[in-house]
Each structure stands twice: as structure tokens, then as C-alpha cells.
Symmetry: C2
Subunit: 248 residues, 2 copies
């Protein structure tokens, strides 16, 4: 029986999604809970996420699948997992899916949000949940430039060097930035076919540079052209990034 | 020169306000910053808070004073402190005050807020910032009972055993509870002359019991009468409590 689960997590106290020896990871805590339900003496069940998230990055709707020979209703599985998981991870939804569903290979798109707190000082309650920018910034310049990211492009200037992926062509269906006046945060949203390593955080860093006039407003087409990460060296902090939704 | 500062902090990673050996406390991190500004080779400047907060309790407006022979503008002091403080503490305001101002002895009142998240599971992003109640609860019963707390009463049933204070008579000027539908939280507010050790958290625990029909709605006058903590044993978790404002 294949289970698809939708998971939210506060990434603050995790070394990221993927298993690493002697580190606390999302993969490990969820895998431990699933194997506890399976009651296998030897933990043998693997879980598959839609993709990794880095240390400190949050999820509002990460998707994971796993196979379990035990038959349980979706509701019972939801309760069983949440009772076993630590409080910084919550399963929001459980669905029994056909055996050919794959959380990673079947993704059609992903939606990310990035929250950038403005103002001189970091609000203590936001330090782990936003990026922070204390200098003047013009949201209009960001809104003008961000549409250049939409469409199919080679994102070679927007991928961190750790990436092993060869093909850097991705499609962004929707990219937007708005000022949330209540919280005094700029909220970026990116909906695309797929995202390269650190791609959202590099795009946000470029947009911040544009908004604060450290980079021309029409620089993004040039960055697509040059295909060179050295021309876009910034990476916005992990704390502001949320994996919001995965599409199948 | 006496400085009064208003401070916000995320209490999650602190063992409370008051200095304790080998623990990270609010008093220690602020005292360290002040002494760094004073450039004393031996840290000698004491800071005085309006009162303690427990481990995990937050502040939106804690007040502290200290004396410094160095003369600095309020703005410069604000920047100097915030540049030295860790990100979970923020100085919101600095005021130079007369030498007879005392952050603790001059308090006329305090306002606390308690946030109680409802719903079956704990939201990972709220676990350190709210209490949590997963059973049915009737806000109307709470709103009916909470007004019994207003006025001058002997709060002996509402004080934790660790307290060394003899006089348990306090006045609550205002006590309210409302349901915040956006966040699905009950927000309690208490404005009073002063509060005993754990008093707000014990009052909230009693109100939760009333709202979930584990205690009669008219039980608070009886608790004032009996003056017995054993009749009100609950203490709502620290994570939901915020010291909101101190009045002088």
C-alpha cells in the first residue's frame, strides 16, 4: 500500500531534508516514525520526498511517499504519524495512492514563498522565519524586474556550485512580489516546473540588489545570457524560504 | 545617567530572565551588552528588570533600567545595544530617565497576553509561541467566567508554591478572552496591578478547564474563597505567555 503524505515543518532545528550521519534531518525523523508504525525489528522502509530542502528552510506542503504492507485508513495513519513525530513536523494530510505514484518523479511543479522582513532591526520572533533587509528598498523596481524571471530560461546564473544537475533550463510560470504592510515584509512567490539548487534564494538575492539599486532593473535578461553564477553571487538566507506546494 | 530600555525577546532559548549559573538568561545577555558599552575591564554594571519571566516566556515590552557614566544619545544607545545583542533579543526603545526611576519598584501595572492555539495538532511554527488545546472548548463560558477575575482579590489559589511573597492580594483591572479566527487561537489579556509567580498561567489553566466543562463556570469566586492552590493545580505552558507592557 502506497501512502502519500503532505507535511509542514519548521526547518530551524534541522540540518535539512536529506539524511546525513549524526545530524537531525526531516528524512530521519519521518522515516523513524514510519518504521515504528511498520513495527519492523530492522528499519527497512524508505521514504521519498518531492525534493530536498536545505538546513533552515521550511515547508508548508512538502510531499513524501512510502510503502507499507500494513493497511491503515488515511485518518488513522495521520494520527499515528503525528503522535510519533516531534512538534516541529506535522503531517497535514494522508492519501492512499496508486503504486505508480512517485513523490519525486511525478512532480509537475512547485511553489515557493520567500519572506523578507524590512526595518532596521531583526524582530526576535521572526529571526528564524524571514530573511532580513535593513536598507532602503523599492518594491516597484522588484515588481518590474521579477516578471523577467517568468517563462522558460537557462538558469545557469542562478544555480549554486554544489549542484550536479547538468540541464539548467527551467520554466517559471508565475513570479510575484508584494509588500505585506501588516508585517512589513516583502513576500515573493515563485511557481515553476522545477528549481535548481539554491535557485530561489539566488533569485531573491538578485531581486534585493535590484530593489536597492545595487543592480540595474533590467539585469535579469543579461544574467540569463551570460550563464555565469559569478555575476549573481548572493544567496538570501534559508530562514525566509518556504516550500509551499508541490503539484502532480 | 540612568537609561530605561524597552525590550522584546523570544524566550524559547532562554532559561528565563534572572541570572543563573551556567544558563543562558535574558539578564546575562543584556548585562553583557551594557558592560561592553561601558568598556569596564571588570563587568560592574547591574541591570534591573520590571520583574522576572520564566523559561520559555516571551516579552513584547519588558522594561529594564541601568546606570552608565558614559553619556550617549538615546538613538546611539539603541543601536549600540542592538548591535551587541543576540537576534532573539531586541531593544525597541531607549529613554534617558531621572535617577529616581526604578524599573521594578515604580511599576504601576503590567499587561500580559496568553495565546492558546486550538485544533487537533500543534502547528510546527507555533509550538514555541502558543499553548495548545486539542479538545472542544466553549469561548463563551471562558468569557463569562473571566470577568470574575477582575477587581481586587486574594489570589492565593493562583500562586505557584515557589513564591516567597506573603501578600497575595492583587487587582486585575481588565481580563478578556477573544477568539482570533484567522489563527484559530484564543487570546487572553490580563491587565493588573501586579502578578504573582505563575499567576497568569494558573488563571489560564483554570479558564481552559471552565471552557472545556471540567470545572463549573462560577468556580472562580469559590477559588478566591478557599485560598488553596491544590484546588487549581494546572499551569498553562510557558510558550503561550507574553509580557506585553509595563506601566509606570
Amino acid at each position: 500500500m502506497r501512502y502519500k503524505i503532505i507535511v509542514a515543518y519548521d526547518g530551524t532545528n534541522f540540518a535539512g531534508f536529506q539524511h546525513q550521519p549524526n545530524q537531525r534531518t526531516i528524512e530521519d525523523v519521518i522515516s523513524r516514525a514510519v518504521n515504528k508504525i511498520a513495527k519492523d525489528p530492522e528499519p527497512s522502509i524508505d521514504i521519498f520526498g518531492s525534493g530536498r530542502t536545505d538546513a533552515g528552510v521550511h515547508a508548508l506542503g512538502q510531499v513524501i511517499h512510502f510503502d507499507l504492507s500494513i493497511q491503515m485508513t488515511e485518518t488513522n495513519m495521520l494520527h499515528a504519524l503525528n503522535s510519533l513525530l516531534p512538534l516541529d513536523v506535522e503531517v497535514l494530510q494522508v492519501e492512499i495512492v496508486p503504486d505508480d505514484f512517485h513523490a519525486r518523479f511525478n512532480t509537475k511543479g512547485k511553489r515557493y514563498e520567500y519572506r523578507l522582513a524590512l526595518g532596521e532591526f531583526v524582530n526576535p520572533f521572526k529571526r528564524n522565519y524571514t530573511g532580513h533587509w535593513k536598507f532602503p528598498i523599492d518594491i516597484k523596481l522588484i515588481q518590474q524586474a521579477i516578471t523577467d524571471l517568468e517563462g522558460e530560461h537557462d538558469f545557469s546564473s542562478f544555480v549554486a556550485s554544489g549542484s550536479t544537475v547538468k540541464d539548467h533550463v527551467r520554466t517559471i510560470y508565475e513570479a510575484s512580489a508584494r509588500l505585506d504592510e501588516d508585517s512589513n515584509e516583502i513576500v515573493f512567490e515563485f511557481y515553476g516546473s522545477g528549481f535548481l539548487y539554491n535557485m530561489v534564494r539566488i533569485m531573491v538575492a538578485v531581486l534585493i540588489e535590484i530593489g536597492s539599486k545595487r543592480r540595474p532593473v533590467d539585469d535579469i535578461p543579461r544574467l540569463f545570457e551570460v550563464k555565469d553564477r559569478n555575476q549573481a553571487r548572493g544567496t538570501a538566507p534559508a530562514s525566509g524560504l518556504y516550500l509551499k506546494q508541490v503539484y502532480y
